[in-house]
């Protein structure tokens, strides 16, 4: 089945753009611009050929999503054995260099380690390819700005995968806020609790200079959501256990945000829990109502099986098996944007503003919880 664009299309009722599957499909011809047809089905995204750079943990997730969308995929990884193995499993093609991948695809999907988002994205833009990039947009704001400039100069689209905006519970809560069900958001509490990624010591993940640590990697999901629900942030205070007490080896960070609207947010990100924990929770309190969610209490299927092992993967990812894959919704929406310019619920500017917020939180954590102020005008520049 490839007719899945409409799934994501069902999303938007009152937000950035009215999107609906049928309309998107009828616009196929007009949007064909630089896009060459792939060999996939008849959905919008199936016209695309996508090239995944970096076939690690998230690259594999994206490959699964693209494949389910009927998109033709080409993959590239400096670890060619890994790329070959994955390509074999999903029926993708392997490119032997970045240049070869750029030649073979319409859109480049950047799934490299965080500090290597910018060089790959910029090269792709210069090659005239649309770019999808995993979060965080880049390791530094300067890198992210360079990506925006490159995309602008090349006239290609650049979108960043803040996938929480595609998780149904997060979308439903924001829709309830936008519908006025709880009034003006006043106090938000956003929680993401998991275990330390099971990567070998020396992995880029554990190098703050490359990954940005737990704030840029994990907390950024909820920092982005806080902005999406309560608007721009003007001040952030953040504490991080790994910064305060590196010898304890516990990765746990908490930030307190003040939004321009006056709303305040408590954002907690943890890799301190035992595997296979992956718990997300939020509470959005408004001027006349309250929204609560806790993934600990919303699993519709609970197995009590006598299996061995804790079932944990390398890195925790939410179990979305019963709701459709949010990565697939995300990539389908992005693909449609690239085919016909349909607006998306997130933009590269948006991702840059979220990155600036994450960098400010990380800076606060490294300066003992000093309050770092942000200029909301800069966020929308």
């Amino acid at each position: 089945m490839t007719a899945t664009v409409g799934v994501a299309g069902a999303y938007d009722r009152r937000t950035e753009a009215p999107v609906d599957g049928r309309r998107a499909r009828s616009n196929d011809r007009s949007g064909a611009r630089a896009i060459r047809r792939g060999s996939g089905g008849d959905t919008v995204s199936a016209q695309l050929r996508a090239g995944i750079v970096g076939t690690g943990f998230i690259g594999e997730t994206h490959l699964g999503a693209w494949t389910a969308e009927g998109v033709t995929t080409v993959v590239y990884d400096v670890d060619s054995a890994r790329a070959d193995e994955l390509a074999g499993r999903f029926g993708a093609t392997t490119a032997s260099s970045l240049g070869e991948l750029f030649e073979a695809v319409d859109v480049v999907d950047v799934c490299t380690p965080t500090h290597l988002h910018a060089p790959v994205a910029i090269a792709a833009a210069k090659a005239g390819r649309h770019v999808i990039c995993e979060k965080p947009m880049a390791r530094t704001a300067a890198d992210a700005e360079a990506m925006l400039d490159a995309a602008r100069e090349a006239g290609v689209r650049l979108l960043v995968g803040h996938v929480v905006r595609f998780f149904p519970e997060y979308v439903a809560a924001r829709d309830a806020v936008l519908a006025g069900q709880i009034g003006d958001p006043g106090v938000l509490r956003l929680t993401r609790a998991s275990f330390r990624p099971r990567q070998p010591a020396g992995h880029w993940f554990f190098d703050h200079a490359k990954s940005g640590g737990i704030v840029l990697d994990l907390m950024i999901h909820d920092l982005d959501y806080a902005r999406w629900v309560a608007g721009e942030v003007v001040a952030v205070e953040c504490r991080s256990a790994i910064v305060d007490r590196p010898e304890a080896g516990v990765d746990h960070a908490v930030a307190i945000l003040t939004h321009a609207s006056g709303a305040i947010s408590h954002v907690s990100a943890s890799w301190a829990y035992a595997p296979p924990t992956f718990r997300t929770a939020f509470e959005i309190a408004g001027s006349h109502g309250l929204i609560e969610h806790d993934s600990a209490f919303t699993a519709p299927v609970t197995p009590y099986l006598l299996a061995s092992g804790d079932g944990a993967t390398t890195t925790a990812l939410a179990d979305t098996s019963l709701n459709g894959d949010p990565f697939r919704h995300e990539l389908a929406e992005f693909a449609r944007a690239m085919v016909d310019g349909t607006p998306t619920r997130t933009s590269a500017q948006d991702a840059l503003a979220t990155l600036r917020l994450a960098l400010a939180a990380d800076q606060s954590a490294h300066e003992g919880g000093r309050v770092v102020r942000l200029d909301p005008a800069e966020a929308v520049r």
């Binding site: 106090v187 001040a235 516990v250 908490v254 307190i256 006056g262 943890s270 309190a285 006349h288 919880g369």
Partner: protein, 345 residues
Amino acid sequence: MTGHERRAAAGNVRIGVLSMEHVHARSYVPLLADLPGVDLAGIWDANPERASSAAGGAGTRAFGSVAGLLEQVDAVVVTAPNAEHRDLVEQAAVAGVDVLCEKPLATNVPDARAIVDACERAGVLLMTAFPSRWNPAVRTLRSTIVAGGLGEVVALEGVNTGAMPDIHAAWFVDPARSGGGAVTDHVVHLADLYRWMLGSEVVEVYAVANRILQEHFDGVETGGLVSLRFANGTFATIDCSWSKPRSYPTWGGLSISAIGTGGAITVDAFRQRLAVYGTREAGISWPDWGPDSDRSMLEAFVDAVREQRQPAVTGVDGLRAVEIVDAAYRSIEAGEPVRVGSAGG
């Protein structure tokens, strides 16, 4: 004759209640009437009608004057509006009567310190009413931490949110009588539990607050988030907001996530509850079937009075919590973290 000498003559501990204005008095009075070894000796309230109706309901005497009641008791429970604690505790201390004072101990640091000093000077016992210290879930977390079961604790996150207390009494949202809004009302419980669990003091506080929640009201802060740094390096946060709407099935709750080198433990202190669905008008309610922490706290107070020993929660514990609240307000004002206690002025 001091209160203690009078008790020696009597046998049962005679306890009076000073003021019915705090909603918790409605829980304490029937418990005191029921506790073995306790005589609920009387109730005073600034409003004589309120005193006599409460006294009638509990089968005890109403007193028209504080002094009159203090002559007849070994100990008092002070459940007046926060700003009136000091005057009542000072009178009790002078009369040689032991005191259990409702939280927060006072609306400002000088008053809290005066309360502690007055009791010390008079040689009477002073306990601050922090019933959550007797909540079994909270106690389990604390004993696990103390036994090293969580390793080194690096962070605590707590939520003590509730309905806006103007549903109980108007003084709760009158800063002249309450001292403030959600920050005054809800920070002290978790701040006290954290100090107790960590055995360390708060050195720095960052807090933010707003008035967006509970739009029917325009006054004290209704939303607040507080970040604490302890001397031992642990950081902790508190959501103290009055964020539960009127439609919420219970008063609120208290939960803690404790993070350490050994992993994490989460505690939801009032998770032991039913969900009861009534008629459309009655709506949904979540009656609590867990153990009654108020009862355990009152028993602990009575035992301390009977044995004339320092209660498990002291007046100084109450004072420390007030210092943290004071620092939170200073931080809200400054928009920056502030030091706690003497360092902060």
